[in-house]
Amino acid sequence: MDNKINELVPEVKYTAKDFASDLDVKWCPGCGDYSILAQVQRTSPDFGEKRENMVWVSGIGCSSRFPYYMNTYGFHGIHGRAAAIATGVKLANPKLQVWVATGDGDMLSIGGNHFIHACRKNINMKILMFNNRIYGLTKGQYSPTSEKGMITKSSPYGTVDFPFNPIKLATGSGATFVARSLDRDPKHLQEVISKAAKHKGLAFIEVFQNCPIFNDGVYFPLTEKETKADNVIFLEHGKPLLFGANKDKGIKLDGLDPVIIDLNDGKHSVNDCWVHDEFDDNPTRVFLLARFTDISGFPTPIGVFRQFNKPTYDEEYVKQIAQIKEKKGVGTYEKLMLSNHTWEVN
């Protein structure tokens, strides 16, 4: 499979500032969205794409204000429809680099259908999903990623429904790049965004994002210095799965069950650990990794779960049009109207 990265180099060397629009950013003070915007603006100059060829599309919600702050082409859509609108943009002009900014409610609830089908079709676009596990713009109702039992304005006695696991959902739907990062880890977030930008196919990034107003601190165990090392495991291609402040805890696979091992117990060594393969053809291990967040005591994986290549919808479509043009000749009005059975009246 041809996996060439877009090597087009812009004539102008951009800086982060070139990607900031003239609008005042109006998220709440302390919102994780600021960091995501900053990391996107910092990495954009290295996407190898001219600014006028970039399009940011969004739906509705706090996250979906994102395109207004990017000095690229932007389309602030309606609730849930970002992936569908972005698909139209990409198919109309496959040369554009299309990004989607969205949230857990926008993409996984009202926009769920568009999300799974964009993944299935492998539309060549990048989806940056800000997951704060709450509806922020509507002021605090539970979302499809809220933990079971969560007390919110619309669940005063706790929710009784189970949350989606976005990594599993994206993988199961066929996304060809699936990753997770943290708003409070700028360097990591930049790395993941840069990788996604270079991926050909549908890239999905789940960003754990803090909502300081309605769900403050939901990710603090993962993002704060005191607890992060024990609760987060960084996925790095070709490296063993290790975590803990001294990297002395690891994950090994016992059949299909992940097990936490202590490298200081004299029984285990780093050689027992599961080695992460980002390019694994088989999605089984991604599901096992994604399950960590569902198992008590397990660290949360951060990084690229998997990336692989398959033909994108847009390139297949372009190819098919070219083939049919080749086979049938480029259409003209005369061919169009006279192709079927016609008769002449004199």
């Binding site: 006028e52 399009v55 207004y68 602030h76 859509g77 569908a84 198919l91 005369e334 059975h341 008769w343």
Partner: protein, 612 residues
């Protein structure tokens, strides 16, 4: 024996059989040949919503009606002169629609106990005298077909499947048409299956010869060619014409066509048809749902395509929120609504005009769009070009209303030269100097600046914008300015559209004001009344929002205005509220269009039953 030839002006034929009997195919072959010999024509299929209802049952009957003649033909005909009934169920379902003394050709082999029971006949209608008012011609269609194919090695089932071509051959003989067009079509259809080809061709000839040689048939009919305007013609259904119209619009405007679509009866053929034309650069995106169909089209419009989406009533409801987004972002978009019987799933394969209010008002907020309605299958071609032209010129969504009757009905389309088509100018903004996304021209139209254009990077969306600048604005006064701008822009479309033409006296007793697919029936009714002294005029609306600018004046000039429509009075309400003019209603909501006779009778009734 000698056979007499009788010249007739026009004939209505209905082919009816089981939904697996190939009646649509038989009908369309008869249509092609009839067009080729130069008759004017109009066709209408009638098929059940179920793909294959139980064989022989009443609900499984599929029909195809064709009206052809040497004069101007506007409708598929009120009542058939000839019915070809392939089984008892087909007879039972259709016999009530026939003209008195109509000819019925029946396949007698299918009138066995089992099929009679399935058709809920207590006694055999061929024997009990119940058809005495008709000219019944019994033909052993199945047996004759099998006999003709005796020496072929095809299975019995395959042989029996050819019997529709026996009926077709017989009809070709009866109406004096050549069989070679169908012979040729069979060649192209079955060129990889020589034995099936041989079987069908042989049966077609056998049917034709049967008419010639048997004594059952004493009369042949001749329908002279119609005096159509000079030119090249092709037969089109409404759905096909919509597809062709938008490809032509794409060629005329020089920008690629994008269709975002989700299958729905009776609109799916537009998707199917357009998906064939990839060598015209057409992108057909079969979306995951109706909303994605329209949302992807909005994205494509933003990126510079001629973007359209097609659907029927339930789908239009789902697209409603997105159409509001297209109003707000002021992007060109055409939404084709092939109306069907509603609400909800309603009558999916039947026709109705009850989505007019939805097209006009079915959105939240002040969200005016342009509304057009096609008047005939061939008009679907021309009105699609108009819709594309207005959408692009005014940067607005346009809802184009057709319906099930137009979608499946067909008539000849005179092919215009490319240069005769309306001009569709696309001017993408490229100039950086003085660019603002919502800076308006003299018609209040904003510029179309597409991604990929250096220096024009901008953001649009569903939130209210600051006038001219386009940034988000919650300012109360600004909102009212923008609401009015959007409304006035749509009003300005009136400058683009032609004045309404009144057919007949320009003032007087009674004006028939119609819209959409009822055009044909009214036109024929008007012609039938032409020399009877009834004082009645007719005007037909293709442009509904905005209305043609002379409509108000026209209404004032008539004492009575009668609005026939296939709903409970939606256009009547629109006219009353717009012009404060009382109008008379004539409504039918039976999943079927008006019969010519119904219109005639209503006109006579309104005129007091006299000749004025």
């Amino acid at each position: 024996m000698t056979k007499t030839v009788q010249v007739v002006d026009d004939v209505t034929v209905r082919f009816a059989g089981d939904s697996g009997d190939g009646m649509q195919l038989t009908g369309s072959q008869f249509t092609d040949t009839t067009a080729f010999v130069g008759n004017d024509l109009s066709t209408l299929p009638d098929f059940p919503a179920e793909i294959r209802a139980p064989a022989g049952s009443l609900s499984g009957v599929s029909g195809f009606q064709l009206h052809f003649g040497s004069g101007d033909i506007q409708t598929p005909g009120d009542s058939p002169d000839v019915l070809i009934a392939m089984n008892p169920a087909a007879l039972k379902v259709n016999v009530k629609d026939l003209k008195p003394n109509a000819t019925i050709i029946v396949n007698t082999n299918s009138f066995d106990t089992k099929n009679l029971k399935l058709a809920q006949y207590g006694t055999n209608p061929l024997e009990d005298g119940s058809l005495s008012g008709f000219n019944v011609i019994p033909v052993e269609l199945t047996k004759l077909t099998m006999t003709a194919l005796e020496d072929l090695s095809l299975s019995l089932k395959e042989k029996e499947k050819c019997k529709n071509f026996f009926a077709l051959g017989l009809m070709y003989w009866m109406y004096n048409r050549p069989i070679d067009i169908t012979l040729k079509w069979l060649e192209s259809k079955f060129n990889s299956k020589p034995e099936v080809l041989e079987a069908n061709q042989r049966v077609l000839r056998a049917g034709f010869n049967y008419g010639e040689t048997t004594e059952i048939f004493t009369t042949r009919y001749d329908v002279k060619p119609a005096k159509l305007p000079k030119g090249i013609y092709r037969n089109v259904s409404g759905n096909e014409a919509v597809a062709l119209g938008f490809i032509a619009a794409s060629l005329r405007s020089g920008i690629p066509l994008f269709l975002g679509s989700y299958p729905i009866t009776p609109a799916s053929e537009i998707l199917q048809e357009l998906s064939k034309y990839k060598n015209y650069g057409v992108v057909t995106f079969q979306a995951e749902d109706e909303i994605s169909g329209v949302a992807s089209a909005i994205g494509a419009a933003f990126a510079g395509s001629l973007a359209i989406t097609n659907t029927s009533g339930p789908g239009l409801s789902l697209k409603t929120e997105s159409i509001g987004l297209a109003v707000m972002t002021e992007l060109p978009l055409v939404i084709i609504d092939v109306q069907r019987g509603g609400p909800s799933t309603g009558l999916p394969t039947k026709t109705e005009q009850a989505d007019l209010f939805q097209a006009m008002y079915g959105r939240h907020g002040e969200a005016p769009v342009v509304v057009l309605a096609a008047q005939s299958p061939a008009d679907c071609f021309y009105i699609s070009l108009e819709a594309a032209k207005i959408a692009i010129k005014f940067m607005t969504p346009v809802i184009l209303l057709t319906d099930g009757y137009l979608a499946f009905g067909s008539e000849p389309l005179k092919i215009s030269n490319f240069e005769e088509l309306p001009e569709i100018n696309v001017e993408f903004r490229t100039e950086k100097e003085g660019f603002f996304p919502y800076l308006r021209d003299e018609n209040l139209v904003r510029p179309w600046a597409i991604p990929g254009t250096p220096g024009l990077e901008h953001r649009i969306g569903g939130l209210e914008k600051k006038d001219v600048i386009g940034n988000i604005s919650y300012d109360p006064i600004n909102h009212e300015i923008m609401v009015k701008n959007r409304k006035e822009k749509i009003d300005n479309v009136q400058k683009e559209i032609p004045d309404l033409i009144v057919d007949g006296e320009q003032e007087g007793e009674l004006l028939i004001l119609s819209w959409g697919s009822t055009y044909g029936a009214i036109k024929e009714a008007m012609r039938n009344l032409e020399n009877t002294g009834h004082k009645v005029s007719h005007a037909h609306l293709r442009f509904i929002n905005p209305f043609p600018k002379n409509l108000g004046d026209i209404l004032k000039r008539f004492k009575n205005v009668l609005i026939p429509e296939l709903n409970l009075g939606q256009m009547a309400t629109l006219i009353r509220s717009t012009y404060l003019k009382e109008v008379l209603q004539f409504n039918k909501v039976q999943g079927q269009t008006f019969k010519v006779a119904e219109i005639e009778n209503k006109i006579i009734e309104v005129l007091g039953g006299n000749n004025g």
